[in-house]
């Protein structure tokens, strides 16, 4: 069972090559504390003396383990000069379409790789692989988000994306992925023009965590009553620092701004060497 996962099933990496690696994922140093309920069976339920009752101070972050893995992922990304981005949105906002378009344009310019997170299927990874980019699918099973241990395993499988960009496409969900650091340089939040201007107010944690907001499917604007300025104002209300881009992966409109943003972030990664 994954360390922070409550579902009891391990997130599966759906590899291109189906060698059944037994996945005793060796994150050296820190053990994977399974809930081994070794029956320390005090069958005698006679009342313990009251002095046996005591209080133990813990004072530890609940997300400590995830954050430790996230920190290690971040160090590994820095060492390989990889720009790692965590793409989040509600289901159907166009994360995979944006990625496919991005890969088609940027392939050959610098190394690119994708980790795909979904509850089921490897359909998204197949779409990515069709562009020629290396992709790895994680099936989270019952889980509603990726966590840092899953990403650590996936990166170990995928190998480093040296001097390039690793896109981590999270499970489509505007709630849960907000709380889980994966070791990324930034969370990129997508919101499509068919979703309503009030999304940032309804899901403020995610928009607050955003390093970039991309408004997608802007080619549909002529057919909608969507007020893009109201959306941007709502984003600003939650997160006054973030940039907001407008993109259509279908027509390519606005893709230049996205590539410029990527180049600027890649430059920062190089500078941080």
């Amino acid at each position: 069972m994954c360390g922070v996962c409550g579902c009891g099933t391990e997130a599966k990496i759906v590899g291109a090559h189906e060698h059944p690696h037994s996945h005793a994922h060796a994150h050296d140093g820190h053990e994977h504390p399974h809930a081994h309920p070794h029956a320390h069976d005090h069958g005698h339920d006679h009342a313990h003396p009251p002095e046996a009752q005591r209080r133990i101070r813990v004072e530890r972050d609940i997300l400590e383990k995830n954050d430790r893995f996230a920190g290690e992922n971040r160090l590994a990304f820095q060492a390989a000069r990889t720009l790692a981005l965590n793409l989040v949105s509600s289901p159907g906002a166009g994360k995979t379409s944006l990625l496919v378009r991005t890969l088609e344009k940027a392939m050959g310019r610098y190394p690119l790789a994708v980790i795909e997170g979904d509850q089921q299927t490897s359909l998204d990874a197949q779409r990515i692989k069709a562009t020629g980019a290396p992709a790895l699918q994680i099936n989270t099973g019952k889980m509603c988000h990726l966590d840092a241990t899953m990403v650590a395993d996936a990166v170990a499988e995928l190998g480093p994306t040296e001097d390039g960009v690793l896109f981590i496409e999270n499970v489509g969900n505007l709630v849960c992925p907000a709380g889980f650091d994966l070791g990324e340089a930034a969370k990129v939040v997508l919101v499509s023009v068919t979703e309503g201007e009030d999304k940032p107010l309804k899901y403020p944690d995610m928009f607050h965590a955003a390093g970039l907001v991309i408004v997608t499917k802007i080619d549909l604007l002529p057919h909608l009553d969507f007020d893009i300025r109201a959306l941007v104002a709502n984003v600003r209300r939650i997160n006054s620092a973030t940039e907001v881009l407008r993109v259509s992966a279908r027509t390519g409109e606005g893709m230049d701004g996205w590539f410029a943003w990527l180049d600027a972030r890649r430059h920062e990664v190089e500078e941080a060497r």
Binding site: G3, C5, G6, R57, I62, E64, R237
Partner: protein, 113 residues
Amino acid sequence: MHELSLAQSIIDLVEEQRGGEPFARVRTIRVSIGQLSNVDPRALEFGFEVVARGTVAEGASLAIDRPPGRAYCTDCSATVEIATRTDACPTCAGYRWVAVGGEELRVIDLEVD
């Protein structure tokens, strides 16, 4: 339902703690869930009950502290109390504030025997 993952993490921390200071069972786990954290306390209680089954924490109760959200307003320089991320600064009505409290997710202590 990321509360299920968080409940599992709480139990992992309890198990780790038991490795250092053995105890037979846990009566109460006191946790601090800040009001600006993206965690629903009722969902956490529910998730905890489910994942605690068969573990050392089975039957333990979760005592949930809810420290209030506190923010520093970058517009008016006031430190204010904030209930949600969509709130305006109560002194200047602006939205350019940064949270300085109420985001924590911590296990504080255990009552064991």
